[in-house]
């Protein structure tokens, strides 16, 4: 009997621990470091009315990370990347071979819908508050990438937006990450996409197995 009680208590404690937000140091730190990024480039942060969200534009204007103010009102995706199409077509992309809806007004759009919930805020809606809603409600989409000491938002299908946990100790403050497969299938030579780096990145698969995957990266040092 004692053993059963002990086991139940241990299980209950584990469940309590796992559901305690205060213990989610990755989520909390990701928000504070994302705020640092936004604060470092205030001119590149803006409301994106068409997507009913916020956007962080790359210093060269070639890419954007957009995140929703309200999941219920996002027209396409709740989190997404919007990058210039031209470097891809220059590298051989046959636009017709890219998945439907991926190309929009000379831009490539990749992203994912996080949900349909209406988000309510205490006080004024700010870019960081909207991000904190993602952490709070869609924690699984927020990742920590130990190899680069980056946080990131998972856009699914191998696409990510990442930023440095500590800008002071990282030369890649923000990174736009695309899965090259769809582009290669559409005829792109990944090594010839201007402004993008084709590289192998160390990560883990769904089971936690360490793997290396091909990625197209667009890193920026924004300090």
């Amino acid at each position: 009997m004692k053993k059963i009680v002990l086991g139940i208590m241990a299980m209950a404690t584990v469940v309590t621990l796992t559901s305690c937000r205060q213990l989610d140091v990755v989520g909390k730190t990701s928000a504070s470091s994302f705020k640092q990024i936004l604060d470092a480039v205030p001119s590149q942060v803006a409301a994106d009315e068409s997507e009913n969200g916020w956007s962080l534009t790359a210093p060269d204007g070639s890419a954007k990370f957009i995140w929703s103010k309200d999941f219920n009102k996002s027209p396409i995706y709740d989190v997404m990347l919007e990058v210039d199409l031209k470097p891809f077509t220059n590298a051989g992309a046959d636009v017709n071979k890219l998945p439907g809806g991926m190309v929009k007004d000379n831009k490539i759009v990749v992203g994912t819908s996080l949900g349909n919930e209406s988000l309510s805020y205490d006080g004024e809606v700010t870019p960081i508050k909207s991000y904190e809603k993602i952490v709070e409600m869609k924690r699984d989409s927020v990742k920590y990438h130990a190899a680069l000491d980056h946080f990131g938002v998972d856009l699914e299908n191998g696409n990510m937006f990442e930023w440095a946990k500590d800008m002071g100790h990282n030369d890649k403050d923000i990174v736009f990450v695309l899965n090259p497969k769809v582009f290669i299938d559409a005829g792109v030579d990944p090594n010839k996409v201007e402004g993008w780096v084709f590289a192998k990145v160390e990560t883990m698969d769904a089971k936690g197995k360490p793997i290396k995957v091909d990625k197209l990266l667009k890193p920026f040092n924004i300090k």
Binding site: T18, D24, Y144
Partner: protein, 825 residues
Amino acid sequence: MNQETMKISGMTCAACAQRIQKVVGKLDGVANASVNIATEKLSVEYDTQKVSSADIKQAVVKIGYGVIEEAEAKEVTIPIGGMTCAACAQRIEKVLNKQDGVSKASVNLATEKATISYDPQKIKISALKQSIEKIGYKALEIEKKGAVDEDKIRKEKEIRTLWRKFTISAIFGTPLLYLAMGSMVWWLPFPIPKALNAMQFPLVYALVQILLTIPVIIAGYRFYTVGFKALIQRSPNMDSLIAIGTSAAIIYSLYSTYQIATGNFHAVEGLYFETAGVIITLILLGKSLEAVSKGKTSEAIKKLMGLAPKTAIVIQDGKEVETPIDEVEIGDVILVKPGEKIPVDGVVLEGNTTIDESMLTGESMPIDKKSGDQVYAASINKNGIIRFEAKKVGGDTALAQIIKLVEDAQSSKAPIAQMADIVSGYFVPIVCLIAVIAFAAWLISGQSLVFALTIFISVLVIACPCALGLATPTAIMVGTGKGAEHGILIKGGEALETAHKINTIVFDKTGTITEGKPEVTDITATSQTSKERLLQIAASGEKGSEHPLGEAIVRKAEKDQIEFLAVDQFEAIPGHGIEVTIDGVHTLIGNRKLMVERNISLEELEKESDRLAAEGKTPMYVAMDNQLSGIIAVADVVKQSSAKAIKKLQEMGIEVAMITGDNKKTAEAIAKQVGIDRVLAEVLPQDKANEVKKLQSEGKKVSMVGDGINDAPALVQADIGIAIGSGTDVAMESADIVLMRSDLMDVPTAIHLSKSTIRNIKQNLGWAFGYNIAGIPIAAGVLYLFGGPLLNPIFAAAAMSLSSVSVLTNALRLKRFKPYQSKNG
């Protein structure tokens, strides 16, 4: 000087034993202190004027160990009938407490039992029962816990506790390991929940590990309490190594957890809770297996203890009364029916039977018993009903003596153990030093703190003083126990060790090589007398003689119904014969030496004497009034097993000699029959020891095998004295090894057992030393230095646990030892 043996609890390794030995040995008044880790006993010799038993016990307790009181006072539970209320219980309690010798009595009305602590020297259970019955209550049959049961219960409890602790630590340690090894076990079918992903939820991951570690630490708390206490007192032991190693892992992990909480997520790689948890789990597993194996090493003695029956049928006022064995007293007449065990030692009064004494002697053939024959406790009455008188009870029975002898032997230390003792005394501090040096060296060489810490923990955890400590005593326990099972009682570790070095064995002839019951074969009289007269004079002179040759002459006269004459004067001349005056006739009866010394001419019967001697017969010369009157030849029968045993010994490369007081020719004839080349004949009893000494001076390791009082000095002088069980008490007391049977095949078996045990000890020591010598440098990163792998502390802990278990398993292999058989082996 007082000698005392105390049962010690809480020892985990040889360093513990060393520590107790050191602390007790330093007490003023203690002459000698020795701790045997396998039997968990402290043997101490001390001056009662300077130090008391309580002081010694206090010193042991002070350093963190326990002394298990083996109370002089016994405890007995007597069920009581007839109690109706609390007042009854109080009354009985009061009466019992008033009895002289009762230290404490308490009566429980609910259970209707009286529990009494009493001094058996002062009061008997029967008297306690009487006092209860006297006041009107019924004392029912007692429930008594024997020492065997208590020891068994204690050991079983210890094993149960260890298994429970191991189970708890395994229940929590397994998920802890699984969680920690998550990234390495991705191929397993049970994925780690997302909420416990080390990279995404590092703080939760760390806290859950802490939660899982806490029960494991609680299960292994003894390692910390004892280990750190020993460390503070500057006598670190195995527990100290585990405590330091796992504490280092835990403290560093707690620091890493703090780092994670403050945002350093890479610190998740510095979590070593699973190392600490799994180390403790594995050590507990090792300790549990060790406790089980240790229990098996003393199975032989438990088997012996279990042989004694619990009750006896005592004839009281003509009635058969079933009486608990502890209440049987000397002089009681006991009835034993077919198939029952003999309860105590005694002498048969009535009845004939055959008794199986194999459990005591190893002799498989039942022995015929009739009135006047001795019977021994624990032997089995095969077919007849006998009544016998109890002569020895309780601790005085042959069985109890054998148990004591085996227990003492198992507690003793062999010289080979000294090296292990010395090493284990310095072992733990040296390991700590190596761990610190390795830690510092790797840190200085530029490796990370985590790397150096891994090395530090591995070195501490892989070092195993337990294996060193267990190597010798466990083998001795199994070896001596196995010997006892086959009727070979080895009196100590030293005897066991020395026996394997024996290269020369000297056998006494009469009673050892031969049956020792010689018979008269030839009577030759001179012209001055007749054969009948010669036998009458000789038998009258030898009447009452304890010498086997004299006894043979007396038996012959009795058989021929010859009247014995009164002896006026009698003088025994040791080694020569006797000098008597019978009917006014001065008579000398003895060997050639006696006659030569007294200038008796042997010329007349010289040829006859030579013939008899050549046939292996012993001529006993009889001279009346200084004139040779005749020869009575006596011949002894060679034991069936003698020739085979001697051949076996020679095959083992052992030189065999025979020693006897008999004349050379007789001796040589017997020697020839059994295949002995070297004969030491006509040796006086007092010279037997000198002959042994002479052989020793040739650089030989000599064993003497004998049975008589006259052999005792030689048995003592020999490197190993072996007494035949059928022999005298003096011989058995003088010997290092006692053979319960008269079968000489037990001599090569004893030496074979010694060789097997010593080989086993050497294997154990080789394994224990080899393991530590190889394991510690590997743990310190020597292989890594040359491009090899780095040892994970978890594997170090597993190896450490396995080392003790493997030593014990190897010792237990001795249980498969097979003795040489005199019939078909």
